[in-house]
Symmetry: C2
Subunit: 254 residues, 2 copies
Amino acid sequence: MIKAVVIGTGKVARHLVGAFKNSEKVRVVQVAGRNKQALEYFSAEVHTTTDLNNLSIADIYILALSDDAIGPVSARLPENDAMYVHTSGSTPMQSLSRHKRTGVFYPLQTFSLESRVNFREVPICLEAGNEEDMSLLEVVAQNISDKIYQVNSDQRSQLHLAAVFVNNYVNHLYHIGHTICRENDLPFEILRPLIRETSAKIEYLEPFEAQTGPARRGDLGTIQKQIDQLKDPLHQSLYQQISESIQSTYASEL
Amino acid sequence: MIKAVVIGTGKVARHLVGAFKNSEKVRVVQVAGRNKQALEYFSAEVHTTTDLNNLSIADIYILALSDDAIGPVSARLPENDAMYVHTSGSTPMQSLSRHKRTGVFYPLQTFSLESRVNFREVPICLEAGNEEDMSLLEVVAQNISDKIYQVNSDQRSQLHLAAVFVNNYVNHLYHIGHTICRENDLPFEILRPLIRETSAKIEYLEPFEAQTGPARRGDLGTIQKQIDQLKDPLHQSLYQQISESIQSTYASEL
C-alpha cells in the first residue's frame, strides 16, 4: 500500500481525497492544512493536522496548494526520502527542488465544491525527475484515473494557458450571452442546447472545421450591425477582437 | 394535417424535413431549391422542384434560406392566403411583408451535415403578426420540439448576437486551445474533459458564479506571463481583451 499525505484543504485536495477513498493501492493517511475549519471536512475519514512538523510518514506528499503557497510551504517541510509533488498547472517542478525526489501531479479539470467529478475521466499530467519516480506517480494516478499523460514543465505551462482559453475565457463568453439575455427579457436556458452542442461538436470535428458564423463567412455587414447592438464598450471591443482573429484564421479561404 | 413546403436545401432545411418526418400533424409536401444536386437528398421521400412557379399548395411555406436570400426569394413567391415564415435569427419578420400572413420559425441550434440533433431539445423561437397565426406556428413547432418560445424581432436579433458569443466565439477559443496543444506536442483530447465540464457547470451555476482563473482573481503576474507565452499577436491581444473584460466584470470584488 502506498501511503500519501495531502497538504492543502481546497477544492483540489477535496476531490483528490475523495477519489483516493476507493483506491486499492493508495491510502491517504493524513490531510494537513493551516485552516482548522477547512480540515473538518476531512476529519471523519482521515487523520488531520495543522502542524507541518507533525506530518505522518508517507511515500508521497501531495501539495494541493495555490501557486503562491507551493514554494513557502515546501520550505517548511521535512527533508526525507519520500516523494514531493504539487498539483499546479503553471508552477515548474523546480519550485520543489529542495527535496530529493520531486514531481508534478496535475489534474486538468475545473473543480467546484458543488459538483462531483468522475475522476476516472480527469486527465492527470505527470512529471518526475527520473523513471523510477515516474513509475510511482503512474501507479498512484492509475488508481484514480484512466487518462494519464507525461507532460514536462514547459508543456504543462502551455497546457494551462490553453485551459484558460477553453475554460475561463469560454465561461466569460457564456456570461456575456447571459447578460444579453437578461437585458432583453430572454431566459438564458434558451441558449443551453446550443452551448451543449457547441462543446459536443468538437468531439468529432476539429474546432477549425467546426467554425461557423459571420466572422468565418467574412460577412462584414452583420459584424458591424452586431457591434452596434452591443451596449457595453468592453463587449464591443471584445466582439471586434475575436471577429478579427477568426477572419485572420480563415483569411486565405475568403 | 397541416401541409408545409420547405424552400431551401441547406443544413436547416435538411434537419427540419428530417424532424417533420415522424410528425403527426404536419406533412412536408414539397422541397424547393435552385440546386438540383442538393434536392436529390430529399427526392426519395418528398416531391421536389427547382421552379418557384411550380410550388405545391400548402398551409405554410418555410423559407430555410441564408439571410441574403430571404428578401429576393420572397419577392418571387406566389401571393396567396398561406403563411410565410423564415428560419433566420437575424432577419426581421418585415422582410416577408409582401405576404399577407408572415412569421418567423427560428430553431436556435448549430446544425451540421455530419451529426444528428435531437430536435425535441432544440428551442424554436416563434413570431407572428397575430394570435391566430401564432397558434398555427405553435402547433407546427410543438410537433417537433418541446421548447417553444415567443420572441419578437428585436429580441431575436439580440438572441442571435448572444448565440454568436456562446457558439461561434466559444468555438474560436477551442481553436486557440487546439493550436497551443499542436504547437507543444500535446494531444487536444487532453482538454476535452475540461471543455465538457465547463459547459456542464453552467447547467447549475450562473456563468457569473462559475468564473475562475487568473483574470477573475486579478492575478496580474500570471496574466502577464501568459500573454508573453502566446506566439500569435492576435491571440495576445485577444487574451488581453478578455482578461480586461473579466477584471472589469468583477472589479468591485477585488
